[in-house]
């Protein structure tokens, strides 16, 4: 997938992305990207847990990218689905069903159902209303989990999550090898599916809605149902990410539903770059690595630097890391083209 550059022009037609058929061909760079985790697997076995967490946060950020980057819905409460998935998978394991894959499916179904039900509240409003409604729903869920301590463990978190062997073969080991392979497999499978989804006509119509939701009905697109559909899918994916975290760490904390988690997710996505899938993954990797390095020194400073980073991104670096790389490439490209004599 090559994210199209926003070409600023005065003509409306020239401002639109060039018309092209969705294509699914994998670029060499993408293949390299997916080999990187394996490099970490063989070279830095001490960091397996961290890399697994990066992949899980990457999956979570991917789900936000679907609604924020593609459909243009600003959500301040996406952690609701992450936490719901985590609690669904965790509770299932606590109450005697520790089979990982079916746990993932149950978590995905629970989050997707909740996403579907709440999507009707979210899609009807405008930006501020959406912001408030998503925030309100997440806070409500947080309060429920907090007050229902006899089910969820409240502020102490849900412990005692016992997982069975993965596929009946691989035990979740202390070094996190199984957790790593499991997270990688789930992330990769879902990424391939979502990559197909956003390059489909449906994905294109979402971008159309983001750019001008008032015009989409004119070409026969049902805006509300498309938004409901993508919101439900995003909720399900976020639920899978939460379930993965619950299963691999064998613990669910109340903070998985918190506002800070939602805000952090927004930061990750914006850091990497919205609307381009890989941005979510790059953002998660960079963010988690920085957090691991800096937060180890002092958590208070960490929050300060994150805040500064956000302000700087908004002020100067729209598009995040991948957006910056694209600009760099666009600046180098004309010279390269001229050298080959086809300007």
């Amino acid at each position: 997938m090559k994210p199209e550059l926003p070409s600023r022009s005065f003509s409306v037609a020239a401002g639109l992305p060039p018309p092209r058929l969705p294509h699914d061909r994998w670029q060499p760079l993408e293949v390299v990207f997916w080999l990187l985790p394996w490099l970490a697997f063989f070279l830095f076995p001490g960091y397996l847990v961290l890399v697994s967490q990066m992949m899980i946060m990457g999956l979570f950020a991917l789900s936000l990218d679907l609604i924020l980057g593609y459909a243009g819905i600003v959500s301040l409460g996406h952690a609701a689905f992450f936490g719901l998935g985590a609690y669904a998978a965790g509770l299932l394991a606590v109450h005697g069903w520790g089979e990982p894959l079916s746990g993932l499916l149950v978590a995905a179904a629970a989050s997707a159902l909740f996403g579907f039900l709440t999507s009707f509240l979210v899609v009807r409003g405008h930006d501020l209303t959406r912001l408030m409604v998503t925030l309100g729903i997440a806070l409500m869920l947080f309060e429920v989990a907090n007050k229902a301590a006899f089910i969820t463990g409240g502020v102490d978190g849900l412990s005692g999550v016992e997982m069975w062997r993965l596929l009946g073969l691989f035990e979740f080991d202390l070094y996190g090898k199984t957790a790593f392979c499991y997270s990688f497999a789930v992330l990769f499978v879902l990424f391939v599916a979502l990559r197909r989804l956003v390059n489909s006509p449906f994905g294109l119509s979402l971008r159309g809605i983001r750019e001008g939701s008032a015009r989409m009905p004119a070409i026969g697109a049902d805006v509300q149902w498309r938004l409901v559909a993508i919101y439900t899918v995003a909720a399900g994916v976020a639920g899978v990410a939460g379930a993965l975290l619950a299963q691999t760490t064998q613990f669910v904390g109340l903070e998985s539903l918190s506002f800070n988690r939602s805000a952090e997710l927004l930061i990750i996505l914006v850091l990497g770059g919205t609307g381009r899938l890989y941005g979510a993954l790059v953002g998660a990797a960079v963010f988690m690595l920085a957090q691991d390095r800096i937060a180890g020194i002092d958590p208070t400073y960490w929050q300060f630097w994150i805040g500064l980073l956000l302000v700087v991104i908004v002020m100067f670096g729209r598009g995040g890391i991948l957006g910056g790389l694209d600009k760099l490439r666009a600046r180098l490209r004309p010279r390269a083209d001229a050298a080959e004599g086809r300007s």
Binding site: L68, T129, L308, V311, V314
Partner: protein, 288 residues
Amino acid sequence: MLSNFIGVLFDGIAYGSLLFLISVGLSVTLGLMNFVNLAHGAFAMLGGYVCVVLMNRLGVPFLLTLPLAFLGGALAGWVLERLLYRRLYQADPLDQVLFSIGLTFMVVAGFTYVWGPTQQPVHLPDWLRGQVGIFGLDVGSYRLFLIGVVIVITAALGWLIERTRFGAQIRASVDNQRAAVGLGINVGRVFSLTFALGSGLAALGGGLGIDVLGLDPTFPIKYMVYFLIVVAVGGAGTIRGPLAAALLLGVFDVAGKYYVPGIGAFVIYVLMVVLLLLYPSGLITRRA
């Protein structure tokens, strides 16, 4: 039972009027500049710290610290508006949200660094402590003082907006920016002054509210939702809207915590979502 209910109502109104005082600036920034400013609570916290530091370190009397808190908040708001906020008026809401979350994080971390993560103590003067009897009811004298202050400020604000030249400029800029510019109104200056005024009021509210809301570095995040609810439910760009929403929220929050403590903060979130669904653009919408 009845006096009990009236007591809860009274506390709720005091709480609500405090929320109104802090949030009214947010309502104006949102209505006037379409800016989703999640960092608004930071100005309130600044006011609270100005009061505490002046009182505890320098021994300034409580009443005198309040105008200084207002000035401190207004100055901080004015500087930040000039330096940062005004660059983002045309940006999309996502950028504004991210920027203000970033600012909030920095403020929280900075205040923790300087003053530590603990609650700040406040020593009210004697005449504001304890209870006074009105119409046979015992009410907290500080809460009575709070309501009095908010009534005076609301009246002054109403006068400013409805009766003065500057108020007319604000209203004109809210209603139609382009036409206001065409009439020779310096909209940029109106924005700056309004932002400073809103930040100052938030700081004043923060100073007044130490006894009710508490004061520690996580204040802007803890109460962000409340301020946003007041504005989103009340409708941005008006004064009466947030006033009604703040009183409603205050009464329901206090009553919810008093009568059904088991479900706690749940009441106001449900109230918020229901009200937003019934009135997507706020309780009281501005006349075009």
